[in-house]
């Protein structure tokens, strides 16, 4: 599934500029704690989160996240949108809640790209 198909699936609204809409999304990860995201997410995942500050984009950039979905119709501050534009990461707002979104994406064939944080091997390696 690519970013543009993802947007359609979740009635999403693309908030950021410069995003590559043909980028492939390989799976998903949902979390509000950025340290958890950094510890557990695999590359090229879509990140579902209720957090709206610029750190979400920074985290996404560090962890090679393919797209960010802000759940429950959240509207982020301008700084977050601008940073997503500068880093060319798709920042999407969806009216659905976290649970509904995870369900929709899973049904559409996206699987979890979260690894357990108690796993001793570093999640960063392919």
């Amino acid at each position: 599934m690519n970013v543009s198909e993802l947007i359609k699936l979740i009635d999403g609204k693309l908030l950021s500029e410069n995003a590559n809409l043909t980028r492939e999304v390989k799976g998903g990860c949902g979390a509000d704690l950025m340290s958890d995201v950094l510890a557990s997410i695999q590359p090229e995942a879509v990140l579902l989160t209720g957090l709206c500050n610029p750190q979400v984009v920074r985290t996404a950039q560090m962890a090679d996240v393919a797209a960010i979905i802000l759940v429950r119709g959240k509207v982020p501050p301008k700084e977050t949108i601008d940073l997503a534009g500068a880093e060319k990461i798709a920042l999407i707002s969806s009216p659905f809640g976290m649970f509904e979104l995870c369900g929709r994406l899973y049904q559409a064939g996206l699987h979890s790209l979260e690894v357990s944080v108690s796993d001793p091997s570093c999640g960063c390696e392919e």
């Binding site: 989160t49 750190q55 950039q61 090679d64």
Partner: protein
């Protein structure tokens, strides 16, 4: 130029948007005045067709705007000359054969406006005028093609050139041991810019030819350390990243307040962060644990009241050395 474009955007559906190519985007992004020819060869209505023919031949052009009192009066082209030749009428003035009231475009218009006119009316060239109808340039299909090609080339080249230059750094500069040192000063409480230094380090590594995995591990480790400086220090601190072909060494240090119990701080889930920090998505007590998972060696030293120093090393296995030359050596 204060004059705004006359172009009105049209609404396109998501389905259409999916299939838009970079060239099509550029047709809307590039402006007529960015690609048009500004050095103009013009004639007047009184110029004889014979003279026009001579002007076309010596300048190797196929058309020219006709100016009367510095205002655009028409366009004369090779086709008009052919009509004139058929009638053996080269002694007539340009005004007899030119196209009067030609279609025009404005400098700030996107080039798509010019393209539409070219497609619908089969003209070879369009005069570009300002709001007072004064001629400022001329645009042909060739100008548009050249403009788009140049823009595409730039898009592609900018990052490629940077990466190419940077990846040769270690081969081009000779020494017994070369390293590149990047330093960043991090302000306490500067949440808005938090992660900017880590971003810069990650980007630098990718440009230097590091693999995405190495860049990602380093990025995550430095990012956690950077957020620690922002969240926990008294006066902020410094990040120093030293990049060598075989390893990346990162030192993060601050002048207080120091960590009381390092063993405790290293335990997953242990945190001294307050509610504000937690609202930002940090302070879950996973920072140091995350750092340790991403690096090959980590040394954390702290004196309460004096400050903390964190030393990280990421070793680059031979095939992942930064710098392109090392990768080619591998193939031999």
């Amino acid at each position: 130029m204060s004059e705004s474009s006359h172009f009105q955007g049209r609404i396109i559906t998501d389905e259409q948007a999916e299939n838009i190519t970079r060239v099509e985007e550029l047709a809307y992004e590039l402006k007529v005045n960015e690609v048009m020819t500004k050095d103009l060869i013009t004639v007047t209505p009184e110029t004889l067709m014979q003279e026009a023919l001579e002007i076309f031949r010596t300048n190797r052009i196929s058309g020219a705007p006709v100016l009367k009192d510095n205002k655009l009066a028409g366009v004369v082209s090779i086709e008009d000359l052919i009509h004139c030749l058929q009638k053996n009428d080269l002694k007539s003035p340009v005004s007899k054969y030119m196209t009067c009231k030609p279609l025009t475009v404005h400098g700030p218009d996107p080039i798509i406006e010019a393209l539409k006119l070219f497609v619908n009316f089969h003209f070879g060239r369009l005069p570009v005028v300002d709001s007072n109808f004064a001629l400022v340039g001329i645009i042909t299909k060739g100008d548009i093609t050249r403009g788009i090609l140049k823009a595409i080339q730039q898009d592609y080249q900018e990052e490629e050139v940077r990466r190419y230059r940077a990846s040769h750094l270690f081969e081009d500069i000779e020494s017994d041991r070369s390293s590149l040192i990047l330093r960043y000063t991090i302000k306490q409480g500067d949440f808005m810019r938090g992660g900017a230094a880590s971003s810069a380090i990650k980007r630098a590594l990718l440009r230097l030819g590091a693999t995405p995995q190495i860049a990602r591990r380093t990025g995550i480790a430095v990012y956690e350390a950077e957020m620690n400086l922002i969240i926990h220090t008294t006066n902020g601190g410094v990040i120093r990243a030293e990049i060598e072909p075989h390893q990346i060494s990162i030192n993060v240090y601050d002048d207080g307040p120091g960590i009381e119990d390092i063993d405790q701080a290293m335990k997953p889930g242990y945190s001294t962060a307050n509610e504000t920090v937690r609202e930002l998505g940090f302070g879950a007590g996973m920072g140091l644990v995350n750092i340790q998972r991403c690096v090959d060696s980590m040394r954390l030293e702290s004196i309460l009241g004096k400050g903390t120093s964190l030393k990280l090393k990421i070793l680059l296995p031979k095939k992942e050395l930064v710098g392109e030359g090392y990768q080619t050596n591998e193939e031999h």
